[in-house]
Subunit: 199 residues, 2 copies
């Protein structure tokens, strides 16, 4: 089926959205044209403005259109001296939803991956080291993912912390709360055993 050029282009570009295939894009295009042109126009403007203006926070590297994000601009949180290192802005969202962490973050925007040519500078570890050196941090919590790359990245950063005499800790890995042992993968179970605590 030959769509008109503008409709073809709309369907094609909708497939750029992760998780949207050709069929879904066609359905979305028709539905927006039929029922929500205003909404589609609002989305068009929001996409444009976001891509044009959202950069990285100068302190923690998360996404924001401001120089400094809201968390880094919160002096109470900065003064805590606790810095949590995560791989992505989504990780910040997940941790913030627990409402239990009161420090600030440092978002790597990835992890060390020599095969992909991603080294320490790509993760902003030079900036991180400058902060470790300035003496204002009491503790660094390493919350990278429990993957090979995440562990290697955590290990690398823990050595930077050691070098600058800043306490470093790794978040605990084990059986999820409410999880049933029977359904947990072996690797997680091994972590749960080796990380056991004396009662």
């Amino acid at each position: 089926m030959q769509f008109s050029p503008l409709l073809s282009r709309l369907i094609e570009t909708l497939t750029y959205l992760p998780g949207i295939g050709k069929k879904g894009a066609t359905r979305i295009a028709f539905q927006m044209l039929e029922r929500n042109r205003e909404g589609a126009m609002a989305l068009s403007h929001a996409l444009h403005d976001a891509m044009e203006h959202i950069k990285h926070c100068r302190m923690c590297r998360t996404f924001t259109e401001d120089e400094i994000c809201a968390i880094c601009a919160n002096t109470r949180r900065v003064d805590s001296g606790v810095l949590c290192i995560v791989e992505s802005p989504q990780d910040v969202v997940a941790i913030e939803q627990t409402a239990s962490f009161e420090g600030t973050y440092f978002v790597l925007m990835g992890h060390l991956s020599p095969i992909d040519g991603i080294g320490p500078e790509d993760l902003g570890l030079d900036e991180l080291e400058a902060r470790l050196a300035n003496g204002k941090l009491q503790e660094v919590i390493l919350a990278t993912n429990p993957t090979v790359e995440g562990e290697a990245t955590a290990h690398y950063i823990s050595q930077l912390c050691q070098k600058h005499n800043v306490a470093a800790s790794r978040i605990a890995h084990g059986v999820p709360v409410g999880g049933e042992l029977e359904y947990i993968d072996g690797n997680t179970l091994m972590h749960a055993f080796s990380g056991r605590k004396t009662l």
Copy 2:
């Protein structure tokens, strides 16, 4: 979690897309910012241009930015004198994919629905009647959906056809080819029985 204003607006407007919830929108926003700003910008422009310029074909009412869509501009198809009535542009796509219909379409962009205040004029049935009256149509194929509203709409149009002496037919409803009887709903089975053909 408090996102920056532009990021909040992006996530909010992404939920205007049918089938995308808050969580999916957040994931999409981050992924586009991280990995495909160019694609997001292209989508922004495509959305803008589509919503601004895509209107309805003057002949068949389907979506197009041209006065007349590609199918209606095809004289071979127009000269066939066969017009297929469907409820939506997606139906045109489905029929075109079979590559077996060589006439043109008339897209109602809905169906008669007195409760929702949708009457004949809203479906362009005045325009359709003008075409039935001008003597160039040999046959009208009613391909509205096999729902209460679709049937009522087909019935209404068949009466217009009768009034203007244009042959009208309704597409067959029954067990889908390859479908297993066991899994077909009762209504479809009833249609299949009442629509049986002598061998």
